[in-house]
Amino acid sequence: MAPFHSCRVGGEDMVNDSGQLYTIEGLSAAILMIVTAYIILSTTTLFTPGGAHVVDLQLEQLGNDALTMMDTPDSAPSPTFLPFKSNLSKYIENDTGFGDQYFRSNLTNYIRTKTNGQPDTNLQFTANVTYSTGSVVGSVPFNSSGQMMTGREHAVTVSRLVLVTVPASGNPPLTIPPFIANDRRYVLIEVTLWRA
C-alpha cells in the first residue's frame, strides 16, 4: 500500500510510523517507576517503633519492683523487737495472719495501682514456689489472680530468691521436702505476669 501522503516540511515527513522511540522508552520508564513504588509501599510496614518489647520491659520492671518491695522488711533488724522477716517470707511460710489471700491482695495492689486513681485491672498473675532438694528442683503452685492465661498475651516471668523458715508442725507447713521443721531454706518464687 502506498504511504499516506501528508504535507511536507523541510523535505521530511512530519508524521510517520517509523517507530515511536521516545514514546516507548518513556512509557516503559513510567511503568517501571509506578510498579516499583507500588511494590515498595505495599510490602514495608511502618509501625511505631518500640512495639512488643517495650510492654515486656514495663511488665518485667513492675513485677520485679513488686516482689522486691514485698521482700523488704518493714521493721528494723533487732533481736529484742520484731523478727526481721519480710512479708514475702511470711506469705510463703503461711505464718499466722499472712495466708494466701494476703499475698494475692498485696501483689494485686502493688501491680495494679496507678497514680490517676483507676487501677489497671487488666494485669493478671500466677505464682509458684520453686525449691531445690538434693538433685531435684520442684515447683509447687502458690497463688493466682483467678484468670487463666490463654497463651496469646504478652507474658513475662519475674522471680526472686527468698529466705524462708520451714515452720514447725501445727501451722500448715510449706510443703516442700525434706520437711524438716525450722529449717532455713532458700526458695525461688516465680510470678508470671500478663496483660489480659
Binding site: 521516545y22 513510567a30 509501599l41 518500640g50 514495663q58 520492671q61 522486691t68 523488704t72 528494723a76 523487737f81
Partner: protein
C-alpha cells in the same frame, strides 16, 4: 550525526511527557511513605525508663558532695547536678543495698514548685537539665501516689494528657522518719522547775543498717511532749528555754519550739498541754557527725512542776516507739507508685 535544527519530534515530547507525569505521581506517593515515620517519638520509652531508674535507684548528686541534694536551700539549688529520690545515709555512698526505698525529704523537695518551677518545654527547666538529660525539650509528667493514700502534686510542664507517650511505672516504699512522742505523765517530778533532757546518742541511733536506722543528720527531728496537764502542778508549768547541749549548752532552740500548737507561742512561756520541737532536715549538719552525743534540754521554772527533775532521763534508744518507754522510733515504710510519662 548532530541534529542542531532545534526541532523536537512529537515522539520525544510524548515519551517525555509520559515519563514526567509518572515521575510526579510516584513522588507524590513517596511523600505518603513518611507519614508514619516520626523520629521524635523513638526514644520516649527509653527516656521514661531511664528517668524512672534515676529517680528510684539513685540518691542524687551535688557539686558540693558533702551534703545531700535536698539540704541545699533555695539560693543554692544550682549545686544540684542530678536528682534522685533514693534514700542513702551517706551522701557520697550509694543506696544499693535496699533499692526502691525513697527518702521522704527528697520526695517533698522534688515535688515542691517553689524550689523547682517548671518552665514550659524549655531545656533549661530544672527537671530536664538535672533528670532527663535530653538533647531536645520533652513534655513530661512525673507523679507519685501512696498506695491507698494521698498523692503528691505531679511535676509536669504540660497541661493535659497526651495521646501517645513513653511510660514506666515503679513500685517503691517511702521512708518516713518517726516522731518522738513523750507522755509527760510518765516523767512527772515533784520538784518545781527542773530540767528534762532527751539524750541523742548518734552512735546508737546510727547503729542499724540503712534504711532502718534513725538519721538525725538528714531527717527532720520532731519531738512532741504532750499530756503536760497531767503534771499535777499547782499552777501552769513555765518552760523557760529549750537548748541543745553537748558538754555545755551550744545553741538555744527556742525559735523551733511551739507551745500548745500555737505557732507564735515560743519559750519562755507557760505550757498548758503540749510542747513541739521541729528541726528541719540538715539542722545538725554543720556541727555534728555520726558519732556525736547531744542532749536536748527543756528547762522548767516554777511555780508549776516540771518534768524529770534535774537528772537526765533514761537513754533514748532506737526502737519501735512506745509512749511509756522513751524510744526514738524507727522510720515507717509506706508503699507507693511512681509513674513517668514522656512525650
Amino acid at each position: 550525526m548532530r541534529n542542531d535544527s532545534g526541532l523536537l519530534s512529537i515522539d520525544f515530547i510524548a515519551g517525555f511527557t509520559i515519563f514526567m507525569i509518572a515521575f510526579i505521581v510516584v513522588i507524590t506517593m513517596i511523600s505518603g511513605y513518611f507519614v508514619g515515620l516520626e523520629s521524635r517519638t523513638i526514644d520516649n520509652d527509653a527516656i521514661a525508663y531511664r528517668t524512672g531508674v534515676i529517680l528510684v535507684e539513685d540518691p542524687g548528686y551535688t557539686a558540693n558532695s558533702q551534703t545531700s541534694w535536698e539540704l541545699n536551700d533555695i539560693d543554692h539549688t544550682f549545686n544540684i547536678l542530678r536528682f534522685g529520690l533514693a534514700y542513702s545515709d551517706d551522701p557520697l555512698g550509694a543506696s544499693r543495698n535496699y533499692p526502691n526505698i525513697l527518702s521522704s525529704s527528697k520526695v517533698s523537695k522534688f515535688f515542691n514548685k517553689t524550689y523547682f518551677p517548671t518552665r514550659n518545654n524549655a531545656v533549661s527547666d530544672d527537671y530536664q537539665s538535672r533528670l532527663m538529660f535530653g538533647d531536645r525539650p520533652y513534655w513530661y509528667n512525673i507523679s507519685l501516689c501512696e498506695i491507698g493514700g494521698s498523692c503528691y502534686p505531679p511535676a509536669t510542664n504540660a497541661l493535659g494528657d497526651p495521646q501517645g507517650y513513653g511510660y514506666i511505672r515503679r513500685v517503691v516504699k517511702i521512708r518516713e522518719p518517726g516522731i518522738v512522742n513523750i507522755d509527760a505523765y510518765y516523767h512527772n517530778s515533784s520538784v518545781a522547775g527542773g530540767t528534762y533532757e532527751i539524750p541523742m546518742n548518734f552512735s546508737a541511733l546510727y547503729s542499724y543498717s540503712a534504711p532502718y536506722l534513725v538519721d538525725p543528720l538528714q531527717d527532720p527531728v520532731t519531738i512532741r511532749i504532750n499530756n503536760i496537764s497531767s503534771l499535777n502542778a499547782s499552777g501552769l508549768p513555765h518552760l523557760s528555754q529549750v537548748s541543745l547541749v553537748e558538754s555545755a549548752p551550744i545553741q538555744t532552740l527556742d525559735e523551733f519550739v511551739t507551745i500548745d500548737g500555737v505557732p507564735s507561742k515560743h519559750p519562755p512561756n507557760d505550757v498548758v498541754n503540749t510542747i513541739d520541737l521541729t528541726l528541719e532536715p540538715g539542722f545538725f549538719k554543720s556541727y555534728a557527725s555520726k558519732s556525736s552525743n547531744f542532749k536536748i534540754r527543756y528547762t522548767f521554772l516554777g511555780p508549776g512542776y516540771g518534768m524529770g527533775g534535774s537528772t537526765p532521763t533514761t537513754n533514748f534508744t532506737p526502737g519501735p516507739g512506745n509512749i511509756n518507754e522513751p524510744d526514738w522510733p524507727w522510720p515507717r515504710f509506706i508503699p507507693a507508685v511512681l509513674e513517668v510519662k514522656i512525650w
